[in-house]
């Protein structure tokens, strides 16, 4: 993304625009600020600490899953099965917790991570050893894992009263001031950010995504990297699943149906390029935050709940189109 220094003849405004747009996140921040300002004008209750804690709570699971999706998309892949992995792991963990109410919560989380890792490595096997395109492989496992949820539970649900208190408070407790779930999401974001930017493997993920052939020529084991991101996607889906079951105090056969597209939306709105090689953790956080704010704001300004999905879709479209427009503009300005 770095380019030669801008020529001195550029006007001050253009150079400001250019330097701003070098960070794709900037456009997103502006968009979010405008949205926040407009909504606050309509209803001051929007800009309160309580409401923002609500928003953060609502997007925590999305952030975790979207970061998993981001790592996959950076390698020019996609993981559509993420929602079914969440559904299956949530159901299995809830079954086990129901049978063993005395079980430690840490063990439940570890179980979720392990189950997620297995499901993720199944995707990874098909994609790397079987050479099946990621979109096909994960489209297939999307319905396979969902089918397993139904088979596993025979259509029954785990309800709130069947789960122990300790498990339910895992996501909602606030021993550190913020709900645990928000803290988990923040920690995951920091780890992923560090991993992608400051470790060798993390940089190799970008290398594989931006030019797979070149990556192989410089000695990066492409298949290993790709295998890794799908396993990581499964692990984070497992984490999200445990939090999901704990937060909503239930595991249903349709848990997280359709969630895969939300994770892709958060990544893409956050500036992750669907063609691979581009994407940052702060961007994805902003993308998820934008989705969360939109959802919350639509309720606050009392838009009929039936029109909310439409407004959400429209705003996603506007965000992507604006982003593309800014990119085109700055590119033209740069070439001048």
């Amino acid at each position: 993304m770095t380019v030669a220094n801008p020529p001195a003849t550029r006007s001050a405004f253009k150079s400001l625009l250019w330097s701003l747009a070098r960070f794709r996140e900037a456009g997103l921040i502006v968009f979010i600020l405008i949205l926040v300002a407009l909504v606050t004008l309509r209803n001051p209750a929007f800009l309160t600490a309580d409401n923002f804690q609500d928003i953060l709570l609502n997007i925590s699971i999305l952030v975790i899953a979207a970061l998993a999706q981001t790592m996959v998309i950076i390698t020019h892949g996609i993981d559509l099965s993420i929602s079914s992995m969440i559904g299956l792991v949530a159901m299995m963990v809830a079954f086990v917790v129901k049978q063993n109410p005395e079980m430690s919560v840490v063990l439940a989380v570890l179980l979720g991570l392990a189950l997620g890792a297995v499901l993720g490595s199944f995707n990874a096997m098909i994609i790397t050893f079987g050479r099946v395109p990621p979109i096909i492989a994960t489209l297939g496992t999307l319905s396979i894992y969902r089918g397993l949820v139904f088979y596993y539970s025979q259509g029954t649900w785990i309800n709130s009263f069947e789960l122990p208190e300790a498990f339910k408070s895992l996501s909602k407790g606030t021993p550190l001031g913020l709900p645990n779930m928000v803290i988990v999401a923040i920690v995951v974001a920091i780890i992923v950010h560090y991993f992608l930017n400051y470790t060798r493997t993390g940089r190799e993920i970008y290398a594989v995504g931006s030019n797979p052939d070149a990556a192989q020529f410089v000695g990066i084991r492409k298949d290993r990297i790709i295998f890794l991101v799908y396993v990581l996607s499964g692990v984070l889906a497992g984490l999200a699943a445990v939090l999901w079951a704990s937060r909503f105090e239930s595991a249903q056969t349709n848990t997280a149906i359709g969630f895969e597209l939300q994770t892709v939306a958060a990544s893409v709105v956050g500036g992750v390029s669907i063609s691979g090689g581009v994407g940052t953790v702060p961007g994805v956080l902003l993308g998820a935050l934008l989705l969360g704010i939109i959802q919350n704001a639509l309720t606050i300004v009392r838009i009929s709940p039936f029109w909310q999905l439409a407004a959400q879709g429209l705003l996603i479209l506007i965000a992507v189109v604006t982003d593309r427009w800014i990119l085109n503009r700055t590119e033209r300005a740069r070439n001048r």
Partner: protein, 375 residues
Amino acid sequence: MTTSTSTMEVKAQNLISDKAPRRTFLGRFQRWEWILVGLILAVILLNSQLSSHFLNARNLSRTSSDFMEIGLMMLPMVFIIITGNIDLSVASNMGMSASFMGLLHNMGVNIWLAALAGLTLGTLGGALNGYLVSRVRLPALVVTLGTFAFFRGIAYGFLGDQAARGYPAAFTYLGQGRVAGTLIPFSVVLFLVMALIFGLVLHRTTFGRQLFSIGNNENASVFSGVPVARIKMIIFTLSGFMAALAGLVLAARFGSTRPDIGTGLELAVITAVVLGGVSINGGTGTMAGAVLSLLLIGLMRFGMGLLNLQGQVQGVAIGLLLILSILLPNIAGNLSRGGRKIRWRSVVAVVFFLAIFALFFAFFFWSRAPVIASV
């Protein structure tokens, strides 16, 4: 100029070396379409053994109309995927158009006018996709992901928690009627006529050739004078129109419209196309393959339904079939070429993971047993 041609040459060479092995393997079994025919025969044979209700003309006729909406949306999806694009918004567009028609019908508008309005709205929705993909140059996946939420949201906006019902019999004929004197549902005839038209356009016209050329190399197509932007605009608009048409058929079959009508069908549509041998990367595929794969999926689901398997559990079989349809030719291709030496490391890795999966399933059955027993 020289650099651009040389990169194009490299691209072209890559293209050839990528695709060649797959063709030689398929050449052995003739073509993918014949494999599908074989699978269809196997499914028919197996199912007729498993259930005496399988080879029942009335049952088959009723179940066939269940798949016509997927079929109608599949036809333009073949075009779109052959050009290397994708349309995730079809099922949402279908919901939007059907809901608009239902809303107008609830307001007392003549049903045919309402249907026409639904078709128009769906076509406009498709045109929006086309505009954003071809003119704003956004990736199709991103655009149609946005309109996936947008269109479905509009459907909810139109009808809310209401349903539209009480369609006149002349309209429900579209989804429930049979061709006079036979058991053949009208929607099947509609689908077959459409499939013939789409097939002829794909395989017998310049437009069809241009779809393949865009899928094989979009840049080269632009330089050879193929109106790439216009073609993308056309196929996405067409996809919107067909989604709206499928929405009308589905609404007619149910005799009512709810805003969540057809939710999730986009993945069924894409599965049918890909299983039909259309490459998800674009450039290859036939209409016959897609139609055969729809037939295969329909027969499989019907047979599993007769065996009392839940719809979602049937998804396991469809998902496996989708993956195996790509996986098996790849593996067999590798083995038959014998060029790639089998490395012990990968064998060990595969065995290791198979062991893990076995453990997973052991846990799967062990952990569910007590709860299922208590239900």
